[in-house]
Amino acid sequence: MRVPATFWLGKRLVVVAFLGVLLVSGWVLGPRIVQLSAGADPFAEMGRFFGAALSPSLADENPSLPPDARPFLLRLGESLLRTFRYALIAISLAVPAGLALGFLASSAWWPGGMRYGKASVGRTAIRSGLRLLRWACRFLITLGRSIHELVWALFFLSALGDAPIAACVALALPFAGTLGKVFSELIDEQSQEPRSTLMATGASPLQAFLNALLPSAVPEMLTYTVYRFECALRSSAVLGFIGVETVGLGIRQSYESLYYGEVWTQLYALVIVVVGVDTLGARLRGRLNRGATRKSVPELSKLELGRSEALLRRTAPRDWVVRGGLLAGIMLVVISWTNGRELGMDMPADQRDARIGRFLTKLTPAPARPENSTASGPERMEALEGKGGEIKDWAVDLWSRNGAEALLNTVAIATSAIVLAGLGAALLLPVGSRALARGEPFGVLGSASRWVHWWWCGVGFLTRSLFILARAVPEYVYAFLLVGLLGPSAWPLVFALALHNLGILGRLWGEVMENQRPEVPRHWIQSGAGRVQSYCGSLAPLSFNRFLLFFFYRWETCIREATILGMLGISSLGYYVSIAHNWLRYDEMLFYVLLGVAVVFAGDILSDWMRRKLRGEIACS
């Protein structure tokens, strides 16, 4: 049969284009996947490492520890608690900041939102002022997000020394950005009908925002905050790899001492905590969506009006689990702030100022540094003056030496990782989605055999567990382990990113399919199609645009992650960031970080454009 030329347009073209992009980025990264020294046997080491998965250690593997040393499990518990504490502190800083940013980045509350005829000059002026403010907030949001928490942490720890609050603030900054972005999107995506009804009956836009738009967004904002807390736990653990005393530090130390059993114990502990929070979030979402219902209606007819109103209010349906959970969360935040190791640094003020002064000096581009490391603000500005040309030469030199290549590698790593993850998720979805992997998909009568039923439920459960496990471990940890096993090439980073994102895409795409209207796929199943046929023929094409939406969202985060994974010694941007950091060349470090920021901004604009286009198409269809 002749295939018409149009066959390769549309969705098929997109898929082929992604495969092409994968090939190109693979070519950029080079063919060598395993890069160990000549005599090394990667398979023996891998065997030893994965063998240890089945026998995690419950005690120290180091035989030469003094007898009064703190036992391994106790240390693990402490470091888990610290991981938890820093994540909580960070989230408690990020949520208020994210709320403020999200509010300011949304235009729904602006005055003059329901004008009649021409707007007055004053209103127009106010609105353009607010537009400026909104752009400023969006810039802050993207800036916060575009620098990875690890990089923020490097800066803060260099400037302030080893104070936990520095790590917490470093975590909080990108999280505030992400929360702000998502909060503003959630607010804007709520149904506009209640808001416009209130405004049609005389409410001001701010009132309509507070009384209609915000309350309807609160459940989703809450569940998203729980999800971000889960991410904060992972990031808090990863901060251990640069020396903050969280679970990551232990993983790194045990791995470098080749105590693989200890590594696995700590990995399992981290996974259990993360999966626990994930489950809590899912429960919370379910309860918030359902809402509490009244168990019994009190007898009202015999009571007078005020009494019956009071009775109704006393017996109002309330979800005590949700309320208790929220209260417990707030209590935990308070405990985190007030208990445990001192958060600030114990250093006299003049010593601290000197330290920050030295840091600022080293942060200034080398040609424009002030003579004196404790220079004041005006002196620094003076030193900067007239050095534009030299700074430019300095930057061009860095760019041509390493910058350009590192940038290309970073983008190639992120892109091949996300395409691989997307491929994996697309292939696993028919057996992993709740919609298909069950005995009777869409309620259509299936095989009479119980075994078939159990088989599909089992396969679905296992695949979803794989997704959960894949996303529970941070990509940095995967990358650290894989670089150790495969040697320093770009591919371990690609695999690490791909594995983590496979878990995330699997979940997000699975949810898209579950939320799809069942009529079309049910019709396929009813007319005799198998699960895979129904997936390829109806579910996947129906969900395609939403799949792409999440794909680009994850691609953006992959770029951010790829810049820092280089810190493990592979020539992406992070490599030069960490080298510059080790040599205390903070100016060069800043240069590479800003390169990363530029890529993320570009990616942000591109994927934003893509998403808006796709969202338009979704709205039309």
Binding site: E193, S196, L198, A200, G202, N211, G291, T293, L312
Partner: protein, 255 residues
């Protein structure tokens, strides 16, 4: 008789689409009017013009004997706070309680802080008034339930109670019976006409069910292609005028 609405030679278009052209219409205080017409005939646009939500392109609209075009934002909000509006999708917040949704009805007369207070927990007196209102629409036992746990008919009553709590001079309802079964449609219209008679409200309802419109509304305004096709007492209208209303003209068949 006091005139509530007065439209003279009013035009409204959205881009190239002429939603309404040369509309002349007067509605007096206390009247009950049904706007009838096929979908796309301009019913919703007309309602929104009456509600001072849209400005006309040409011609004049007078709402409660003032021209909204000349008003500043504060005056405009005051005017709108006297116009009850029941949109087709009800416009209630699904995850809030009935009480909070009803209390939001008087936002137009409250400060920002006052409306925040209403959102959290209104004062005792306000709560009693809301309870009474809910009794009148028949869902008082649902006062503290989340709206999305209510049935569709009950949700519609929440929206009606919110509009009444606003203490408006008129009630504009956009297709309140388009998505309900005949028995419930009768229920809703009975409720609306009874309450507006009790409160002395002017009631303007858009709908496309002719039989129900004739039964409940003394005056019918038929719209066709954005023009007033007929306007008169429902008892006087002949069946040929009515049947012409829903005949598909060439214009519609093309689009």
């Amino acid at each position: 008789m006091e005139t509530m609405f007065e439209l003279s030679e009013t035009h409204k278009s959205f881009g190239a689409v002429h939603a309404l052209s040369s509309i002349n219409l007067q509605i007096a205080k206390g009247e009950r009017v049904a706007l009838i017409g096929a979908s796309g005939s301009g019913k919703t646009t007309l309602l929104r013009l009456l509600g001072a939500q849209l400005a006309p392109d040409r011609g004049e609209v007078r709402v409660l004997s003032c021209n909204p075009l000349g008003l500043g934002e504060g005056k405009l909000r005051e005017l709108r706070s006297r116009l009850g509006y029941l949109p087709q999708d009800l416009g209630i917040v699904p995850n809030l309680r009935v009480l909070q949704n009803v209390a939001a009805g008087r936002c137009g007369r409250r400060s920002v802080l006052g409306s925040l207070r209403d959102l959290i927990l209104p004062a005792v007196g306000v709560r009693r008034r809301i309870y009474e209102l809910l009794e009148r629409v028949g869902i008082e036992e649902k006062m503290y339930d989340r709206v999305d746990t209510l049935s569709g008919g009950q949700q519609q009553r929440v929206a009606v109670a919110r509009a009444l709590f606003q203490e408006p001079a008129v009630l504009l309802a956009d297709e309140p019976v388009s998505a309900v079964d005949p028995a419930r449609a009768r229920d809703v219209l009975e409720l609306l006409t009874r309450l507006s008679a009790e409160e002395g409200l002017t009631l303007v309802v858009s709908m496309h069910q002719l039989d129900l419109a004739r039964e409940f509304f003394p005056r019918l305004v038929g719209l066709k292609h954005g023009k007033v096709h007929f306007d008169g007492a429902s008892s006087e209208l002949g069946s040929e005028a009515l049947s012409a209303l829903f005949q598909l003209g060439d214009k519609v068949a093309d689009s």
